[in-house]
Every structure is written in C-alpha cells, then in structure tokens.
Amino acid sequence: MAREIPYIQAIGEAVHQEMARDETVIYFGQNLGLTEDDPYVKAFGGDRVRVTPISETAEIGMAVGAAFAGFRPVVQLYMAEFMLVAMDQVVNEAPRFYGMSGGEVRVPLVLQAGYGFTAGWAGQHTGTIYGMFMGVPGLKVVVPSTPADAKGLMTASIRDDNPVVFFHNYLMTLEHGDVPEGEHVVPLGEAVVRREGSDVTIVGIGWTVGKALAAAEQLAADGIEAEVVDPRTLAPLDVATIVHSVEKTGRLVVVDQATRHASAAAVIAAEVASEGFSALKAPIGLVTALDATIPYSQPMEEYLMPSEERIVAAVQQAVGSSPVAA
C-alpha cells in the first residue's frame, strides 16, 4: 500500500527496512545515531549504527574493508562534495577490487550523497558531481527523481554487490509522493519513460526530471508532445531506452543540473549521437548549468541553472530545425 511521504523519508525507510531484513547491513557517518532514542540505534543497536568523526577517507575506506569482511555498509555522507576529500577510496579503491582480483573480491557498499543544493549554498556545497563518477568502471551511480524511486533504488543499491553512489537531490528533500510501504525495489540500470510523446525526447536527470515534465506540459499546450525519459541510474546507463525513444521522436533535448562539461548530459548526447544518429532530425539540445562556480546570490544562481523556460526554448529550437536527413 502506498502513501505520501517525503523523498528523504523514503530513502531512510529503505535503509531501515534493509537493515531489518539483512543483519549484514550497517549504517554509519557523521552526526547520526547520537542517542539511544535514534530510530536506527533503537532498532539495530550501536554496533551496526555508528557515528564517525569527520574522516571521509576512513569512513569510506572502512566501508570497503567491512564489505571485504562480508558486510553491506551504507555510508551517510550528507553532501556529495564530501566524497572529494576521499576520492581515492571512492574512485580508486571501492570499484577496483572486483576487477583487480579477477572476480575474487566483491565490494557491496552504498555512499549516500546529497547533491545539487542550489539554494544559496554557494560554491562548495551545491555541486551536481555525478558526472565525475559515472565514468568509473565498477562504480554504479544512482539518481532518483521521485520519492518512490528513492526508496526502490536505495533498496536495490543496498542489495547490489557493487559499490553504489546514491545521489539524492537536496532541493527535493521534502517533496512528497506515493511510496509503497513494504518492500519496494527499482532495479538499477533501467530507465523509465515518465511521459509518452511523439515529437521530441527530453531526458531529465534527478531534479531536472520534474523540470522536464513541467516543460512538457507547457509544450503540450502549443501542440508539441514531448516524451520524457528518466535514466534513474547513470552507471550502468540504459542507453537502449533513450535511443529507442529518440528513434520514435527524432529529436533529443537533455536536461541536467550539472555544469555542461561535467554533465551526464554530455555523455548521453554522445551515446545518442553514436548509437542513434540516423534517427536524429535535429541537433541534440543540451540544457545544463553553465560552466561556472555556483554563486551565492539568488539571481546569479538561478541564471546558471536549467529552467523550464530554457527547456521549452531548446525543444522549440529542436522541433523548428530543418531535418538533417530526409
């Protein structure tokens, strides 16, 4: 049975349910489980729920070691940028052992990292940095865009035998949506079509899925039917579903909160240009954040970000373009 709960609560519910289901799931990070009344400590005890110092290298490195020892650690990192001080563990340790050992060692762990907090957090706490991780072989990258997916993808991430970076969007923290109460699994690596349409494909990622859907409604009023695809997982990327949609619509606009040259949009555009070029009737549109450090002041911050207006304009340009092939 589904009921409306916020996005962030859906994530916590998945962690809690998986900890109840599997005693090898352990949960740790800074400023959590501080008292006996903490719901995780209460349910699972202080052995499996532990507060850490501000030591991301040790936290993520210990998650790798606990995974070696048969556990499924979930590291609460709060902000995605905090991974940057432990980049070796995220990029060059956790995802490397399975390959380096010829399949002997598995490293199941989840790094829960909030991203995209473009709400006045200025230059160092607003980054949409999944693009840095989606090209790392062995690492899975998850970007839920709804509360239900947040729960289902977290469940799948914990059960996955690989290291997973779970990027949840800070702007969506309190967005409500229907979420199944019991076990809910959304498989990793499967995109979903959020809205069907025949004129243009809009790929949204995380927070920008909602923007894409809103833009699609505006466009529908003008007689343009947009299909909105949500990859949900950036690594592995479900290229087939995106290309399939483009084959139907002939046009593609990719919307990404990341700065353009570090965006997932750039990779998606390259894949479609490579795998679906013959279906394209217009150049691929990229609606991303502009390549700049995110400013503190609101008008400047908003100027950099993708918006419904920019999506609508990009679609109108794509639809209005002359066909590149007859």
Binding site: T57, G65, A69, G99
Partner: protein
C-alpha cells in the same frame, strides 16, 4: 627446544616461510634478467622484511585476517597461497591468483584471510579497520592485521583510521614496516618524528593507543610484540601500533620506464641515490634470513642438514613456480571486460 614459548615446530615453520619468501623474491628479481619482458609495470619485493612478515603472521589464529600493500608477496606465501599461481600472476597469466587482472601489486587470497592489497600508499589502512569493525560486530574474536610502510604514516588515511580504531576499540593491529625509505626519500627527510630522533611509534600517542618499536629482523621478537597486540585486540582493549624496523635489501621497485626500455632492478637507494655503500653493506651483514638460520642451528632447533633441506625445498618450489608461470597461457584478450560489475 623452544624460544619464548614457540615450539621447535613453530620455529621451523617460521624459518621455512622466511626461506620461501626470500627465494620467491629472488626468482622474481632474476626474472627481469633471465626472461626480459615477462614482468610488466612495477614490482616491489619483500626481501629483508621476511622476519617481520613471518613473525607477525605467526601471532595470528586461523580465523584472523589481514590487509597489506603493493609490497605484498610475502604474506600470502607464509599463509600457504600457491606460489605457482602467485608467480603466474606476476607474469600476467590466466593461471594467476587474480587471473592476470591484478599483477604483483594486488594479490588477494580471501580464503586464507588475505583480504586485499591496495596499490595506493596508506589507503589499505582503513580497509583493515573496516574488516575489524565487521569482526567486532560478529563478536567471534577475530583480529585483523594492517600492514603498511613508514611512508603511509604521513597519509590522512593513517591518522583518520588510527583515531577511529582507538575510539571504537577495534580488534586491529597496525604493523608499520619501517624500512627507512619512503620510496627513494630517507625517513628523516619526510617524517617529523624521525627528524626529531624519535621512533615513528610515538604517533600512537596521539591516538591513545600503545606504540611499540621492535627489531623487525628478529621474527621471535616481532612475534612476541604482535602476539601481545593481537591478544589485547582480541580481548576488546583496542589497537596497537607496532613499528617494525626492517631494511629492504632491494630497491623500492624495478625501474620505471616506458615500453621498449628493458626493466631491471637498480641498486638500493642507499647506494644509487645517497652513495652510502656502508649502510647497505651493514644491512646485508644483518640479513635476517641467514641470521635466523644461524640462531636456530646454534640453539639446536635445526641441524645444518635440516636448514639446508628447507632452503633446497624452497629453491625447488620456486623453480617450479617460475616454470609454471612461463608455461601458462595469457588470458584471452576479450576477458578484459569480464569483471566490471559483480
């Protein structure tokens, strides 16, 4: 006959493992000369550290675990990993312990408790602590040894991990093999404690855990110190930092060179960087393998014939390992993408 409570059988086992590690490393080194091109990349040898490795591992129980570094050939040899598969791995063959995916720097043998080796300095230290956290949760009395070098103790990973391990009283023992060189740099050039004339074990003080310095050329002394640390960890009293003073008898690694330049082992940094021949010669005179052999013979633990037989068996074993490695096939190229996701 026994020493410090170690039986003749145990002491013989220790010498045997030291002899096997030495012979394995000699054969790796000789491969560069005898079979040019067979070994690629960067290979790091444990010759000189045999007593430290074996003494420490002798303190472990059957369910205990360890992580180590890219200088990681010695540990699995002592644990009983097949040396044929190890040599084949260094030669990049499909019969290698990691099927040719890892090479010299990334040995692993989970079944024997050897959980993995990071090739990045210091980064394996939190892995050991994470495994120790797992052991603490399981509550079955397992202990994890974390092996690393003196250079690693300047990494944030070292400091962050020692803090948490002490705070959480994790069942882990940190074994720092201090060989006096951080790659090519002398320890006094890069370590504040060394520069001040203090042992590196004083770093333990900052994290409220015992710090002990031991002669890493004496396997019995290393065993005793690590054994006490393991028992402390097992009883729930938390970690210890053991500084084991060793002298690696080979250079940091083979030369770093682009394709086409034959790889080889240069002279030790004491000689080729610092021109300090006497330091190196003194270390050779103190070589822990013949030193331990002489001690066991003098003490009547081994006869000369028995010691010779151990050395002879090690030579035969490693000759077979080299032959196996050379004769083994390479992996099929398309296997390269087999182990991306589990």
């Amino acid at each position: 006959m026994s020493e410090n409570g170690l039986s003749k059988e145990r002491l013989t086992w220790m010498y045997t493992q030291m002899a096997r590690i030495r012979e394995f490393e000699e054969r790796v080194k000789r491969t560069f000369e005898e079979h040019p091109g067979v070994i690629r990349g960067h290979t790091h040898l444990a010759d000189g550290a045999e007593a430290s490795i074996v003494g420490a591992l002798a303190a472990l129980g059957p369910d205990d675990q360890l992580t180590a570094t890219y200088r990681g050939h010695g540990y699995p040899i002592a644990l009983g990993t097949d040396t044929k598969a190890m040599m084949a791995e260094i030669y990049g063959k499909e019969t290698g312990i990691c099927r040719g995916y890892g090479g010299s720097m990334h040995f692993v043998d989970v079944g024997r408790g050897f959980l993995g080796t990071s090739g990045i300095v210091g980064q394996g230290i939190p892995h050991a602590a994470g495994a120790a956290w797992g052991a603490q949760i399981r509550g079955k009395g397992q202990v994890v040894l974390s092996f690393f070098g003196d250079g690693a103790s300047k990494q944030g990973a070292f400091h962050e991990t020692l803090n948490i391990a002490s705070l959480w009283k994790l069942p882990v023992v940190f074994v720092m093999e201090n060989n006096n060189y951080q790659a090519y740099t002398r320890v006094e050039q890069e370590d504040a404690n060394a520069a001040a004339g203090e042992p590196l074990a004083v770093k333990a003080k900052a994290y409220s855990m015992p710090g002990v310095t031991v002669d890493g050329g004496d396997p019995v002394a290393v065993h005793d110190v690590v054994h006490a640390a393991v028992e402390r960890a097992r009883s729930g009293d938390g970690p210890t930092l053991v500084e084991s003073l060793v002298y690696r008898l080979s250079a940091h690694g083979n030369i770093i060179a682009p394709p086409g330049v034959p790889l080889h082992y240069p002279e030790h940094e004491a000689i080729h960087v610092f021109g300090n021949v006497e330091e190196y010669e003194a270390a050779k005179r103190g070589d822990p393998v013949p030193r331990f052999r002489a001690r066991l013979v003098t003490d009547g633990v081994l006869t000369v014939e028995e010691a010779d037989a151990i050395a002879e068996a090690a030579q035969q074993e490693m000759q077979a390992a080299v032959e196996f490695g050379l004769a083994s096939p390479f992996p099929a190229p398309e296997k390269a993408v087999e182990f991306v996701y589990a």
